[in-house]
Subunit: 329 residues, 2 copies
């Protein structure tokens, strides 16, 4: 079985790969064109991998090569992606060619930390306490507890699940919005996108963690903000295209939402003239919600777990469905 990956990624897991058995031919790249076998130059290599591990190592230079190898393969491989989003056009082309895609899950716990930290820092009145401290005022700062809040997660993949595991112990009420009605026991309610308007008037924290598809593009639009509970917090770590930014700016005027935590934008980097940069109710971060330091170890472990499943002919974790990329099944 031939596997292709970046050379730095191979070096991280070389020992664990070797333990899997002698039948693996491990090809790698540290720069375009120069294939290595077990880390040594392999000008004789016939590049026809059954498995491609596309990590973020060499994002700009190597990732396009991996996609190209997969797209030209006569025997389409399984390709492990480094990220959870499959809205890039190349993902649709890969799946149309027959490539099996699995979404990266290594970023999910970091993104969940980002989401929960931002939400909690707005619910517990840390900002109000800082203002009182600045004026040396000793005062109580009552708050509506996390335990009393209702969260709505649009999208319930690895990120949504990671958020659910972290907020349910606070006693928060959780509605997840997803295509399937599968219930993992964490959500208090599972609904489809058409039923979203029924929960918005009661939603304290609205998290956009879904893929960007024709169905979800602009899901956070004028109608959504008009229905949203005043005082709610919006957090978008999905894709900028999920939010109609003009509608958001209008909603913020009415506290629908009262705060927006935005890590992704319609145009990235966010243009200097965007009013979001300076809006007092908006937190802007630079598509960095995934950037926790546990990511790499999880990415490596996740690939090895999927590789073992692949070799055993069992279902892979996080495999994209045709519908995820806008293809019909």
């Amino acid at each position: 079985m031939q596997i292709l990956m970046p050379e730095v990624a191979r070096q991280r897991i070389a020992g664990r790969l070797k333990a899997l058995g002698p039948d693996l031919e491990v090809l790698s790249l540290s720069e375009p064109g120069a294939f290595l076998r077990d880390g040594e130059p392999a000008p004789d290599a016939v590049v026809d991998p059954q498995v491609i591990w596309a990590t973020l190592d060499g994002y700009a230079t190597l990732l396009p090569i991996f996609f190209d190898v997969a797209l030209k393969s006569e025997r389409p491989p399984w390709l492990q992606l480094p990220f959870a989003g499959v809205d890039q056009p190349v993902c649709k082309r890969l799946m149309a060619h027959g490539v099996r895609l699995t979404k990266g899950r290594g970023q999910s716990p970091a993104i969940a930390e980002f989401i929960v930290a931002h939400a909690l820092s707005l619910i517990v009145p840390i900002g109000q306490q800082a203002k009182l401290q600045a004026e040396k005022t000793w005062a109580f700062t009552p708050w509506r507890e996390v335990s009393q809040t209702r969260w709505t997660l649009i999208g319930y993949g690895a990120i949504g699940e990671a958020v659910a595991r972290r907020i349910k112990p606070f006693g928060a009420h959780l509605t997840v919005v997803r295509r399937s009605s599968h219930d993992d026991g964490l959500a208090d309610a599972v609904i489809g996108l058409p039923d979203l308007p029924t929960v918005l008037p009661h939603t304290d924290v609205l998290v956009l963690a879904c893929a960007l598809t024709d169905e979800t593009r602009g899901v956070a639009n004028e109608g959504l903000f008009a229905a949203l509970k005043p005082g709610a917090i919006l957090i978008n770590i999905g894709r900028g295209g999920l939010v109609d930014e003009d509608a958001l700016l209008a909603g913020l005027e009415r506290d629908q939402p009262a705060h927006a935590v935005l890590d992704v934008f319609n145009t990235e980097p966010l243009p200097a003239d965007s009013p979001l940069w300076t809006h007092p109710k908006v937190r802007v971060s630079g598509h960095t919600s995934h950037d926790g330091d546990g990511k790499q170890a999880r990415t490596d472990a996740g690939f090895l777990e999927n590789l073992a499943l692949f070799r055993a002919g069992r279902p892979l974790i996080g495999e994209a469905a045709l519908a995820d990329v806008g293809l019909e099944g």
Copy 2:
């Protein structure tokens, strides 16, 4: 069975009390001296309660009366306290008189929210993101994940447990420091106070959530800060007397700790000339960490739960031990 409580508290639970049976004589007070029975004036009342529910309703006026009734009782009652701390001298006097004291648990989830929200808001680089936003800089902000942090909780009562339930799903490592070696399955390690120095060099978040006793007074002293991991976060929601504030100020100079979140102080309200007010590495709040809005419902439910146990002759939840107030058992 005679029960004494504030009238406003009685009104909140009157229906639930009635459901317990006709043998309860419910006395209450809305102002000193004027006892009520089932909410009606009862000048004939012989005040000799077996149960006193001391809530925070009428903290300044009624609480001293409840303590006084208990201290003068020839048949010392069970008294449900409104708070978890039993370091006030009156608690020792009550227990010396034979009064059974149970600690309030209604505040614990709110305090846990305060602790976790503050810690996460410092671990996930929200402050750094705000600075970048202020200068319109689009940049990654890598962070050491909560999943990679090690927490040490000094004290493991209701508050410590509530913190543990909320941070373990993040994958944080948790050491609890307590007298008993009882392990509830949440902590990764349980140690006694003498072993605290062994974990301090690896501690990322140090939470003081213990009672103030002769053993714990000044536990956060020069030696503790000298041993603490540089970059650590200190959170004190216990009592001001747990911290040597001069030693803390010296430690902050060396990032031992790098941040201090202080809700309690040696002198409260914190004097205007305290350097803590304006220290850039210190967050000051006004003994308000308990002030979540779920507190009252939990307080009511907790009393009723203990009342049912009391009537059944079963162990009460949160009963103070003699050692908690400095008495020998």
